[in-house]
């Protein structure tokens, strides 16, 4: 019994300590933002790695998610004679929820894990140490551009996901199932609100971008410099950032769409 309590205490304390470390780490990294602005090249190179290389998976997943929404939505709505509202259903689901959330989960798997592994390997091969000895702060030179690139890329990827998804829903709904073209778009436009829905979706994906990238770079920097340590850190990045995204999604949804 006492051992159980001790285990719980140990777990809580080490979790809190990690959280504290992650926060201090973030503070130092934010000190590198001026450098990133001065040398935007560093950020662009990272935007390539986290953004451009994620486009394909985001595009394909968005298309399929939109097509499935079109199919499922139609089957449900047609029973109520409300298949004209298919556009609304597809667009609102994507813009408010699926766009930001699914693209953040994909981003965690595609870009987050790569970031953790890259930084962990740089640590294990003493590259970060060598930079420090060359009077270059790796938190500013290596971590900050990656964090910034992640934060910039995430909302763009989520927007691409949603737009492609709406198109996928249109393909299935209007193209295959014969929903009226005009009704699809006009109902969508009259029910989807720019500020309430689109902007809130963008805010969500910004928050997710910060969360996922922060976890990814911290796990990489904090890893044990061995191949096993890097493997574990990569797994932790994907698991923790996915959980964090879902938890934040609930909180943000409650705050934003709670009428």
């Amino acid at each position: 019994m006492l051992e159980l309590l001790q285990g719980l205490g140990h777990w809580t304390l080490s979790g809190l300590r990690r959280l504290g470390r992650a926060n201090i780490f973030m503070l130092y990294v934010l000190g590198g933002i001026p450098l990133c602005v001065r040398r935007f090249r560093l950020v662009i190179t990272q935007l390539f790695a986290v953004g451009v290389l994620s486009i394909l998976i985001i595009f394909v997943s968005g298309l399929f998610v939109g097509m499935v929404l079109g199919l499922q939505g139609y089957n449900t709505l047609v029973d109520f004679g409300a298949e004209e509202s298919l556009g609304v259903l597809v667009a609102l689901s994507l813009v408010r929820e699926l766009g930001p959330v699914v693209s953040a989960l994909l981003f965690a798997g595609r870009a987050g894990s790569a970031l953790t592994a890259e930084i962990g390997l740089m640590k294990a091969t003493e590259q970060l140490s060598a930079m420090e000895m060359m009077a270059v702060d790796p938190l500013h030179r290596v971590i900050a551009p990656r964090l910034l690139a992640g934060i910039i890329a995430m909302p763009l990827l989520a927007a691409i996901f949603s737009a492609v998804g709406v198109f996928g829903g249109y393909l299935v709904g209007v193209g295959m199932l014969g929903v009226d073209d005009g009704a699809f778009w006009s109902q969508m436009q009259s029910s989807v609100e720019f500020r309430e829905d689109i902007l809130n979706g963008v805010i969500k994906s910004l928050v997710f971008g910060v969360t996922v990238t922060w976890i990814a770079v911290f796990e990489g920097y904090d890893t044990l410099p061995t191949s096993e340590g890097i493997g574990r850190a990569t797994t932790r990045t994907v698991v923790n950032s996915s959980l964090a995204v879902l938890a934040f999604d609930f909180i943000l949804t409650a705050l934003m769409f709670n009428k």
Partner: protein, 159 residues
């Protein structure tokens, strides 16, 4: 440093695609273009019962959307619901004696206000009220009326 130029071009394309997607979402998917902000004039209408009418519900005339419900309030004296409609400035020649009705799009669809034009020379201006209103059709009322009249009819034929 391998072909930094190529990287730059691809990143440029990525950012462009992202912004384009956002623009599509704003223009084609949502209603940023129409009835956003304060571009329009407000007209009030009082209803005995607004049913399930919500703020942001469409205001239509001859089936064409001309505005939105901006606000729903309650009149403490007449115990009526007050719906404030924001009508786009383009539609500035709506007769003063226009009637407002609350309809439902489809059996379970969203409710909206339909305006039926009268014959008055003068047109509605900002702050005006629509006097002629008819209430939302509440499904339960329709059903109970139907049942009641049916029962009454059965009674007559039976006696």
């Amino acid at each position: 440093m391998v072909e930094y130029r190529k990287i730059e071009i691809l990143v440029g394309a990525f950012v462009f695609a992202g912004l384009l997607a956002l623009t599509i979402l704003a223009m084609k998917v949502s209603n940023l273009t129409d009835f956003g902000g304060g571009d329009g004039y407000e007209v009030k209408a009082k209803f005995d019962n607004i049913g399930g009418l919500k703020v942001r519900a469409p205001v239509k005339m001859a089936g064409v959307q001309i505005g939105r419900v901006a606000e729903i309030g309650f009149d403490n004296k007449t115990f009526q619901a007050v719906a404030v409609m924001k009508i786009d400035r383009k539609f500035n020649a709506i007769p003063k004696d226009t009637a407002a009705k609350i309809y439902t799009a489809g059996l379970l669809g969203e409710q909206y206000i339909a305006l039926e034009p009268g014959g008055d020379e003068e047109s509605l201006k900002d702050g005006d009220s629509i006097v002629l209103t008819s209430n939302a059709v509440v499904l339960e009322q329709v059903i109970s009326q139907f049942l009641y009249s049916k029962a009454a009819g059965d009674d007559k034929s039976g006696s």
